[in-house]
Structure formats: structure tokens, C-alpha cells
Symmetry: C2
């Protein structure tokens, strides 16, 4: 069994790789919707409701074929992950260097392609979405954070159990407020200036002062 990691879920790459081999269909939630505060919504059972207007949020960054383990990712499968956060939460991070309560960071995993149209090299993003992850800051959770995974078109999701690797990995390696601000280029300078980088991140990136 191959281990894989895209984003927060250590086994997520299984479904990504499998899903990438088939057409997943078009995802049509891109229409700008009325502004709201971007706070997480839960259904009566406490499941997170997928934030369908996320493409109207602030774009944090996009990575390609990201993996946190040494094993090579599967050949021939290319996945972009685009990260978005509600505008109010983004503005609050710019002021404080941490996220406000009720912040949702939403990662969209989208299949890449090359040799499409006149493209000869490199990767562009296609209409095929293979899934989403949400990272929610909310005082309702143990430790004030929870993770969720959504398949494309899935309306609600239950919390990923708090013993999962995503929680400890974010706690141990994320640059600011348990989020991977080291991969969000407009926010890393903010957290640096406001001195909200985590001790563990600073320790990992410290320049040795002696041999």
C-alpha cells in the first residue's frame, strides 16, 4: 500500500489518483454570490456544509503535486491545489497574523494537464476537480480546529477524527496558527512582521549559529 499525502490527509492521494483517471465532470459553483462573512455552516447533525461560493474568496496560493512524504507521487497524475479563504478572515489575518474564530480555509484539488491547446510544456488546470479539504477554526472543536474532506459535489462532511495525522502535522510544522502560511506568499511576510510564526516553524527554519 502506497502512502501518499496531498494537503492534510495522509491517504488522500489514493482517491485523488483514482479519480484523476476518470472525468469527474464540471463544477459550476463559480458564480460570485452575495458577500457573507464566510463563517462555517453546519447542518443539524453537526456536519460542515460545503462552502459553494469559495471561488469568490481570497486566493491564497496554488501548488502542484505537493507531497509531504519521500515516496514519488504516482507518475502521470498531476494535481493542483488551490487554497481560498473568506475575505473577512483574510483581512483579519493581515491585521493580526492569526485567523479569527470561524475561519474556513478551503483547498480545491484540480487535475492538471499539458499538451492542451497550444501548450507545449508545463501544466495548466482543467475542469476536473477531484476533491476538497477544509480546515476550520472554531471554538466548538477540541483545540479549536478541525479538518474535513469533501468529494466533488458532496454537500456536507463529517469531521476528520482528531487523532489523524493532519492535526499533529499542522500543529508541528505549520508556520502560523496551525496553517501552512509558509506556502501562502502574501501572508508569510505578514506573520513574519507581526511575529506570529510558530516556535516549531522558526526552529525548523533557523539558520544554525554554530557548527
Amino acid at each position: 500500500m502506497q502512502k501518499g499525502a496531498i494537503g492534510m490527509r495522509p491517504v488522500y492521494i489514493f482517491s485523488v489518483a483514482a479519480a484523476a483517471t476518470v472525468a469527474v465532470g464540471l463544477f459550476m459553483s463559480a458564480a460570485p454570490m452575495p458577500a457573507n462573512d464566510g463563517a462555517p455552516r453546519y447542518d443539524a447533525a453537526g456536519r460542515l456544509v460545503f462552502p459553494a461560493d469559495y471561488r469568490d474568496w481570497v486566493f491564497l496560493s496554488s501548488g502542484l503535486d505537493m507531497s509531504y512524504i519521500e515516496d514519488q507521487p504516482p507518475a502521470g497524475v498531476h494535481i493542483f491545489n488551490n487554497v481560498f479563504v473568506p475575505r473577512e478572515a483574510y483581512a483579519a489575518f493581515l491585521r493580526n497574523g492569526v485567523w479569527p474564530d470561524k475561519t474556513v480555509l478551503l483547498t480545491e484539488h484540480r487535475v492538471g494537464a499539458t499538451n492542451l491547446s497550444i501548450l507545449k510544456h508545463g501544466q495548466i488546470q482543467t475542469t476536473n476537480i477531484v476533491g476538497f479539504e477544509a480546515h476550520v477554526k472554531d471554538t466548538r472543536f477540541k483545540g479549536n480546529w478541525a479538518f474535513y474532506g469533501f468529494g466533488n459535489g458532496q454537500a456536507t462532511a463529517g469531521e476528520i477524527p482528531h487523532g489523524s495525522d493532519c492535526y499533529s502535522c499542522h500543529q508541528d510544522h505549520a508556520a502560523a496558527d496551525t496553517t501552512f502560511v509558509q506556502f501562502y506568499p502574501t501572508l508569510l511576510p505578514v506573520a513574519t512582521a507581526l511575529k506570529t510564526l510558530s516556535p516549531s516553524y522558526l526552529s525548523e527554519t533557523a539558520t544554525p549559529t554554530s557548527k
Copy 2:
């Protein structure tokens, strides 16, 4: 002399490759700004004013190491291009499948990196920006469109001459309204549904009906 193309300018890769070898410094214009109509602004000399609030616009897509020519891109240099468009223009495209007059599409070229923090594979985006391109729809121009290039921190730019390859390439290969909507996954279905795909694009992507 190596030919290269990132985005619209056939020789742009020269400056990208050169700039990518040095730290370009931080770009701090990411703060959300008051909403405006996103229309292009020109100075008294007719030069386009850089739209400093572009990260507050709608994210269209991100590509990595895109090139339109057969030659291999330079080894070891990775560039993401993130494309943004004003919210009002995006909403108009959703309705009409074409851009309204006074639309600016802004491409940000940002240096990628791997082996950063806990990343073992793939590419993430760094704080180093190597430049920008703008594609402006405005009846003031011959053919109603013009292209511009900006270095990082450059406040204004003059129009790229209309005989340049970017104009003919967009005219001949762009999927809708002279823009590469085939690389913007939330808009391709819109242009398809609204039947605004260009005849040349439809011809290039047509499935042969006979051998």
C-alpha cells in the same frame, strides 16, 4: 538566443529566468482594498497604471512552467502564473461569455520552489514575483485589446506594440474573446454553454468526423 514564452510575450522567459536567480524581494500589495470597478487606469501619458489591488480580484487559474514553444524551458527555474480579473468583469463574463469593455486580466509570474519546509515533492509558490502581464480590453485600442508587461514594483507600463506575437497568438488560438479561456476552468464551461468559443479554437479542438 533561446526563444521562450510565458503567457503572451515570446521573449518574456528571458527576464523571468534571469530574475528567478536572484531574490526579487517581497511584494506587499496583498491587502484587500475598497471595491472598485476594476477598470484600467491610465496616466497622463496614456500608460497603464499597475492595478495594485489585483489579488483582491477573482482568481481565474494558475499554471506552472507554461510554454507555447517546443524548446524545453530552462532547467531548475519554475514559474507559476496566477491570473486574476476584476469581480465585475468576471460576473459579466458569466452572463455573456465575453468580457465587458474596460476589462483587465492580470497575470502574476511567481517563482516556485520545492524542498521547502516539509514539502518533499511538487512545487509551491514563493514570495518572489518576477513580473506581470496585463491584457486590457478597451475601445481606445486598435482591435479593442492591448497587452502590457510590468516588472515587480513598476508603477506604469506602455502598450506592447500591436505587431507583437502576443496579439496574433491570442487572436488565433485563444478560446473566447481573445483570452485563453481554455486555461480558465470555471469559465470554459460558461463560454461553451453560451457558444462564445472562437471559430479558430473550435476548429483546433474539433474531433475529426472522418479519417
